[in-house]
C-alpha cells in the first residue's frame, strides 16, 4: 500500500521534474541520479541477486561510454540510437568474457578478476593513443537526435534518462520474477541444492554477468552523450565504490533499494558539497559501508519495509513474511572451518 503510493508519487515527481526543478544544476544532479540508478540496478543484479560482487563495474560503464563515443564521432558518426545498443553489446560481451573466466571460481576470485579487468582496461584507455586519444579523452561526443530534434536541453535529456532508467527497472522486475531470477536467488542461497534440482550454476551466473554488464554499458552510453566527453576517468575506482555503496545501503536483492540508494547518494554529496570537501565525502562513504554491514545489513529499503510491516501487524494487518538471509549478508553455513 505504502509502496504503491510511494511509487506513484515518485513517478509523478519524476515526470514533472523539469517544471519544479528551476535550477539547471539541480536538474543536472537529477540526470546523474538517473544514470546512477541504471548502474546501481545493474550491479544489484549481480551483487544482490546472485551474490557475486563485481568490483570492476566501472569497466563495463567505461566500455559502454567509449564504445558509444567512438561510434558516434567521426569517421563513423553513427546515430545515438545505434551507438547505444552497440555500447550495451560491447559491455555485455566483456561481461560474458569475464563471467566465463571468473565465475567458475566465484567469490573472492571473481572480485579479483573484475578488479584486474578494470585495471587492464583503464591502462589500455590511457595507453592506446590512436584509439582513445589517451589521457586527453574524446571531446565533442554529439548529443542524441530524434528526427528533427536534438536533445540538447537538460530537460529533454532528463526524459531520455528517466525512460531508460524506467526500462532498466522494468527489465530487472521481469527478470527477477522469472524462472531465471529465481535461479539466481537459488544459487545465492544454496548452490549445491540449486544444482541438485538441475540449475546450471555457471551458466546462470554468466548470464547475470552479461545482463548486468550490458546495462552498465547503457549507463555509460547515456553518460557519454550527456557530458559529451569521455576520458579514462570513467574507469575511476570511485565510480565502482559509489555503485557498491548505493546497492548495499539502499538494499541489495530488492528492486527499490538501488533506486533509493542511487537517489540518496547522488543528492547527498551535492547537499554536503558546501559543508565538506570531497575527501571527507569519500571517507564518509567508507564509514557508511562499514556501519551498514554492522547495523543495517539488509539496507535502507528492507529496514523501512520491516518497520511498516510491524506497524501493520500491530494494527491487525497480514502477518509478516520472514524472508531468509539476503545477498552477501548471510551467516556462514555449517561449521566455521574452511571448505
Amino acid at each position: 500500500m505504502i509502496a504503491r503510493a510511494g511509487l506513484a508519487l515518485g513517478a509523478v515527481a519524476a515526470v514533472t521534474a523539469p517544471w519544479w526543478v528551476a535550477n539547471p544544476y539541480h536538474l543536472h544532479v537529477l540526470i546523474m541520479a538517473g544514470v546512477f540508478t541504471i548502474l546501481a540496478l545493474s550491479l544489484n543484479l549481480l551483487l544482490g541477486y546472485t551474490g557475486q560482487l563485481s568490483l570492476g563495474h566501472a569497466a563495463f560503464f567505461g566500455i559502454g561510454a567509449y564504445t558509444s563515443a567512438l561510434l558516434s564521432l567521426p569517421p563513423l558518426q553513427w546515430s545515438f540510437w545505434l551507438a547505444l545498443p552497440a555500447a550495451a553489446l560491447a559491455s555485455g560481451l566483456a561481461g560474458w568474457g569475464i563471467g566465463r573466466l571468473a565465475l567458475k571460481l566465484r567469490g573472492a576470485y571473481f572480485v579479483l578478476v573484475t578488479i584486474s579487468f578494470a585495471g587492464v582496461i583503464s591502462l589500455v584507455s590511457i595507453n592506446w593513443m590512436e584509439l582513445t586519444n589517451g589521457p586527453l579523452g574524446l571531446p565533442g561526443v554529439p548529443p542524441p537526435s530524434l528526427g528533427p530534434w536534438t536533445l540538447r536541453t537538460k530537460s529533454a535529456y532528463w526524459y531520455l534518462v528517466l525512460a531508460t532508467a524506467a526500462l532498466a527497472y522494468f527489465v530487472c522486475h521481469r527478470l527477477v520474477g522469472s524462472r531465471i531470477g529465481r535461479a539466481f536467488v537459488a544459487l545465492r542461497e544454496n548452490e549445491p541444492l540449486a544444482e541438485s534440482v538441475g540449475i546450471d550454476g555457471t551458466r546462470y551466473l554468466v548470464l547475470a554477468a552479461v545482463i548486468s554488464a550490458a546495462m552498465a554499458g547503457v549507463g555509460g552510453s547515456l553518460y557519454a552523450h550527456y557530458t559529451r566527453f569521455v576520458s579514462p576517468e570513467v574507469f575511476l575506482f570511485s565510480y565502482t565504490v559509489t555503485m557498491v555503496i548505493m546497492v548495499i545501503a539502499g538494499g541489495q536483492g530488492t528492486l527499490a533499494g538501488p533506486v533509493v540508494g542511487a537517489l540518496l547518494f547522488t543528492a547527498l554529496p551535492e547537499a554536503l558539497r558546501e559543508a565538506m570537501a570531497w575527501q571527507w565525502q569519500m571517507l564518509a562513504y567508507g564509514v557508511i559501508l562499514i556501519v551498514c554491514v554492522f547495523f543495517l545489513p539488509r539496507g535502507i529499503v528492507p529496514a523501512i519495509v520491516a518497520t511498516t510491516r510491524r506497524t501493520d501487524r500491530a494494527a491487525g494487518g497480514p502477518p509478516e513474511m520472514r524472508s531468509g538471509s539476503v545477498g552477501l549478508f548471510k551467516k556462514r553455513r555449517g561449521s566455521d572451518s574452511r571448505s
Partner: protein
C-alpha cells in the same frame, strides 16, 4: 645481455618488497579467510611513517623502518580487534565489504592528513650507483633488497620456529582442533593480522624512498599483493616469496621489452592467467602455510 641482467636485478629489487607484501597478505588470507583489500593501505601507512620519521623528525633509516613496522602492527591489531573479531563466523563476502570500507576510510584519511601531493622520502644513501661489472645498482635499492630478504627470513623463522608460529600453523590447518588443543584462536587472529600488516608497512617504508609517497599508492600495492598471493597459492609462504620475485622480474621485463605504459598490467594479467589455468597457484602441492 647486459640489459637483460640489469632488468633482472631491478626486478629482484622490486620483487623482494612484493614478496613482503604478498607474505603478509597470504597469511591473513590463508589463516583468517579475510580478503584484505586494505592491505595496500598498510603499505601506504608504512611509507608515510617513514616519511614522518625521516623527513620530519630527521631520524636514521632503521628507526623509520621500525616505526613503520610498529605503526602497521598497531593499526592492524586495532582493525582486527574492532572490526574483524565481531564479524567472525560471518561469510567471507561480508568481511570483504568491511575491508573495502576500511580501505576507503584509510586512503582518504591519508589524503586528508598528508595532502594529495606526492612526497619524496629522503634517505641517507649516496645516489651514485654502484657498478658491479656490467651491472649498476643504486645503494638504496641494494639496501632495500637486502633488508627485504632479512625480513622475509625473520618472518619465516617466526612462523617455523616459535611457539606462536606453531600455533599459527595449527590454526591454519584445522581451526577447531587447534582450539581444542588450547590455541587461543581469537588472539592468533589478532596477531596474524598485525603481523601481516606490519610486513606490508615494512614494504612501504622500503619502497617509499625508491619511488614517492602518495595517498593512492596502496591501490596498486594491494593488487600486486593479490597477484603475488594468487601466483603463489593461498597461505603458501614460500609460494608468496617466489611469486613476489617472479612478479617483480616480470614487470621489469614487461616494462623494458614491451611498453612501460603497461608495467602495471603485468600483475593484472598474471591474476587472470593463473586463475584461468592454475587456480591453486603456480607452486601448489596442497594448501599449506609455512
Amino acid at each position: 645481455m647486459d640489459q637483460l641482467l640489469q632488468h633482472l636485478v631491478n626486478g629482484l629489487v622490486l620483487g623482494g618488497t612484493y614478496a613482503l607484501l604478498g607474505i603478509g597478505l597470504t597469511l591473513i588470507f590463508g589463516l583468517m579467510s579475510v580478503v584484505n583489500f586494505a592491505h595496500g593501505e598498510f603499505y601506504t601507512l608504512g611509507a608515510y611513517a617513514a616519511f614522518a620519521t625521516l623527513a620530519l623528525a630527521g631520524l636514521p633509516f632503521f628507526v623509520a623502518l621500525l616505526a613503520a613496522i610498529a605503526a602497521g602492527a598497531a593499526l592492524g591489531a586495532l582493525t582486527e580487534r574492532a572490526l574483524l573479531r565481531p564479524l567472525r563466523g560471518h561469510s567471507i563476502d561480508t568481511i570483504m565489504l568491511v575491508m573495502i570500507g576500511v580501505w576507503i576510510v584509510m586512503q582518504n584519511a591519508e589524503l586528508l592528513a598528508w595532502g594529495g601531493v606526492a612526497r619524496s622520502i629522503p634517505h641517507p644513501f649516496p645516489t651514485a650507483p654502484l657498478s658491479l661489472g656490467p651491472l649498476n645498482i643504486a645503494p638504496l635499492r641494494l639496501f632495500v633488497v637486502v633488508t627485504a630478504a632479512v625480513l622475509i627470513v625473520l618472518a619465516w623463522l617466526a612462523i617455523q620456529k616459535t611457539r606462536l608460529g606453531t600455533a599459527m600453523r595449527a590454526t591454519f590447518q584445522d581451526r577447531e582442533t587447534a582450539a581444542l588443543m588450547g590455541v587461543p584462536i581469537a588472539r592468533i587472529h589478532t596477531i596474524t593480522f598485525a603481523f601481516g600488516s606490519a610486513l606490508a608497512a615494512a614494504a612501504g617504508a622500503l619502497l617509499g624512498p625508491v619511488f614517492l609517497a602518495y595517498p593512492s599508492m596502496g591501490d596498486l600495492a594491494s593488487l600486486k599483493a593479490f597477484s603475488v598471493v594468487i601466483l603463489g597459492g593461498l597461505g603458501n609462504f614460500a609460494g608468496a616469496t617466489l611469486g613476489g620475485l617472479l612478479l617483480g622480474v616480470a614487470e621489469e621485463l614487461g616494462a623494458g621489452y614491451i611498453s612501460s605504459g603497461y608495467r602495471d598490467a603485468v600483475g593484472f594479467v598474471a591474476i587472470i592467467l593463473v586463475l584461468l589455468f592454475r587456480p591453486a597457484g603456480l607452486f601448489a602441492r596442497a594448501e599449506r602455510i609455512g
